[in-house]
Point group: C4
Chain length 206, copies 4
C-alpha cells in the first residue's frame, strides 16, 4: 500500500471519530428538553402554557445546535486542508472534541436559570465554554500549520494567514459574550447567536 493511501486513511479515521462525537453531542442536546409533567386532568391549554414557558430551553437548544453545527462545518473545512495527522494534532483535536461533548451541560444550565436570579452565572458559564472552544480551535489550527508538515502542499501561505486571522477573532468575541452575561444574560445569547448567523451568512456568500 502506498504511503499516500496510509496517510489518507489515517486522516479519514480521525475525521470519522470526530464526526461521531459532533453528531452525538448535537443529538444529545434534545435529552435536556424535558416533557412537562402536569396533573392527570390538566387541559390542553395548561400543556400549551407549560410548553411555552420552556422557551429558554428552546432558545438554548437552537443556539447550541447551530454553534456545534458551525464548529463541525469549520472542522470539516479545516480537515480538507490537512493531508496527515500526528500525535500533537490528535490530542489538540481531542481537546476540541472535549469542549464539543461538554456543550450539552452549559446548555441545560442556561435553560434552567435563564429566567432566574442566577442567570448571569449560567450565561457566563455558557459563554466561557465557547471561549475555551475558540482557544481549542486555535490550538488545533496552530498544530496543523506548525512547520507546514500536516497541510496539503497546495494550500497557499495567503490562505493559511487568512484562516489564522479568522480563527484568532473568535476568542475576544466570545470573551465579550461571557463578560456581557454580568450586564444581562440575553447579551451572551445575542452575541453567540449573531456570531453563528454571521458565520452562516458569510459562508453562504463565498
Amino acid at each position: 500500500m502506498s504511503s499516500a493511501v496510509v496517510e489518507e486513511k489515517e486522516t479519514g479515521r480521525i475525521e470519522a471519530f470526530s464526526d461521531g462525537v459532533f453528531a452525538i453531542a448535537i443529538t444529545l442536546l434534545i435529552l435536556e428538553l424535558k416533557v412537562p409533567h402536569l396533573p392527570a386532568g390538566a387541559p390542553g391549554g395548561a400543556l400549551a402554557a407549560a410548553l411555552i414557558e420552556q422557551w429558554p430551553s428552546y432558545l438554548a437548544l437552537v443556539t447550541s445546535f447551530f454553534a456545534i453545527l458551525i464548529m463541525w462545518a469549520n472542522h470539516h473545512m479545516m480537515f480538507g486542508l490537512i493531508r496527515r495527522v500526528n500525535a500533537p494534532f490528535l490530542y489538540a483535536n481531542g481537546l476540541l472534541l472535549f469542549v464539543v461533548t461538554v456543550v450539552p451541560f452549559p446548555t441545560a444550565l442556561l435553560a434552567e436559570y435563564f429566567e432566574k436570579p442566577a442567570a448571569s452565572v449560567a450565561a457566563a458559564v455558557y459563554g466561557g465554554t465557547f471561549v475555551v472552544g475558540a482557544l481549542a480551535y486555535n490550538l488545533v489550527w496552530r498544530t496543523a500549520i506548525a512547520g507546514r508538515r500536516l497541510l496539503r502542499s497546495d494550500v497557499s501561505e495567503e490562505r493559511i494567514d487568512k484562516l489564522t486571522r479568522s480563527y484568532r477573532v473568535g476568542v475576544p468575541l466570545y470573551l465579550v459574550a461571557t463578560a456581557g452575561a454580568f450586564v444581562h444574560p440575553a447579551i451572551t445569547v445575542a452575541i453567540c447567536t449573531s456570531l453563528s448567523v454571521n458565520c452562516i451568512a458569510t459562508s453562504n456568500r463565498t
Copy 2:
C-alpha cells in the same frame, strides 16, 4: 488528488455526519420508554398490566422510528443524486438534521399525554414537528437543485421535477395531520402512520 475525488470526499463526510445524527436520534427514542416502577412485591400480572398500559409509548416509538427511517432513506436517495455540497446546502441540511434530533421530544410528549385531556395539544406538536421536517426537506432539495450546480450531470430534468412535486406534497399532508389533532389525536397518528406505510409500500413497488 483530482478535483472529482475532493468533491466526492466532501459529500461523503456530510453524509457520514448526517448518518450519525439519524442513527443517534432513532436510537435515543428508546430512552423515552421508562421501566414501570412497581412496589417490590408486585406480581407478574401487575407488571404485565403496567407494560400494556404504556401502549401509547410503543405506538409513538414505532411511529417515530419509521418516520425517521423514511427520512433517512429519502436523504440517502437524495444524496445519491448530488455530486458536491456548498455552504447553503450544508446549513439547509443542518436545519433538517435539527428537526431529526428534535423528534424524540414530541414523541415523548405524545406518549405522555395521548390518553389525557391535553392529548390534542401533544398531537399537534407531534404533527407540527413533521410539518417543519417536510419544509426543511423542501429547502434542502431546492438548495440542491438551484442552478443545477450540486447535482450529478446525469440527473434528468424530468426526474428533478418529479422529486420536486413529491417533496411538495409532504407539507400539506402533515398540516392536515396537525390540524386533525384538534378533532382527535388518533387522527394525527393515523395520518403519520399511513404516510409512512404508503411511502414504504411505494418504494417497495418500484
Copy 3:
C-alpha cells in the same frame, strides 16, 4: 462513475447507518446502570454491598451487550455477501434495527425485576425481544436472497442454504428461552447466554 461503484457506495451507506445504530444501542445499555444513592455518611462497605446487590443489572448488561455484538457480527458477515440494496431490503433491515434499538428497554426491565415476583414476565419480554429479532433476521435474509438479485454472484447456492438453515434455528430456540421464563427467569438468561457463547465459540473455530 461506474455502476459497480454506485452500488458499492449504496451498500456502504446502509452499512454505516446500521453500524451507527448497533454502536449506539450497545453503548446506551450502560445508561440503565444506576449509581446507588446512599446516605452521605455511608461507609465503603455499604457502597460495596449496594454495588454487589445490583448483580442482575450487570448480568443483563453483559448478556445484552454480547447479544447485540453477535447480531452486529452476523450483520457484518451477511453484508459481506450483498452487492446492492433495494427498498424492501432497506425496510427489512430497518425492522431489524428497530429491535436492536429496543434491546436496552427489556434489559432494564429484566435488571429491575429479576429478583422480584414479576421476574418471569420481565424475562419473557426479554426473551420475546430476541424472538422478534430472530424473525427480523430471517426477513432480512429472505429479502436478500429473493431472486438472488442482491447477492454477490460468487455466493454459492450451498452457502445460501446453509445460512438459511442456521438463521431459521434462532426463532424456536429463543421461543424456548421465552417460554422458559415461566418456569424460572434464570432459564431465559441461561439460554440467551449459552446461545451467545455457542455462537462465539463456533465462529472462533471456523
Copy 4:
C-alpha cells in the same frame, strides 16, 4: 473484487463500529454531569458555589475523557498494523469495547462518592475498570499477533515485541492505581491522570 479489497473493507467496518462505540462512550460521559437544582430565588453566588462544589465530577469527566481518547488513539494505531480480522479478534475487540462502554458508570460512581467515606470503594471500582481495560487490550493484541496472520506483512518482529512490552506494562500500573484507592482515592485519580499525561507526552515526542 480482489481479495485485498475485501480484507480492507472488513477491517474498515470493524474500525467504523469501534469508532462509533468510542465516540458514543466518550460523549455520554457528559450525561453524568447534573445541572444543580437550586430554589427559584437563589442568587448567582449560590449557583457558582454549587457548580464549584461539583469539582469531583469535572475531575472524573476529564480523567475519563482523556483515558478513552488514549484508548481510541491506541486502537487507531493498532488497527494501522492489521490487514484482516477473524472471529477471535472480533470478539476480543468486542470485550475491549465492552470496557469502553462501561467507563461512564465508574466515572459517575467516582464523582458521586469522591468526597464521601465510601470514596476508596468507588476509586477502586474506577481503577479496576482500567485494569480490565488493559487486560482486554493485551487480549486484542495477542489475538492480532497470533501466528502473524492478521498483521500487515511489513510490520517488523522488533516493532511487535516493543508493542507487546508496552501493552503489558498497563496492567500492573492500573493494579497499583486500584490498590492505592485504599490508601487515598486521590492516588487512583493521580496515577490514572499521570498515565494519560505520560502517554500523550510520549506520543507527542515521537
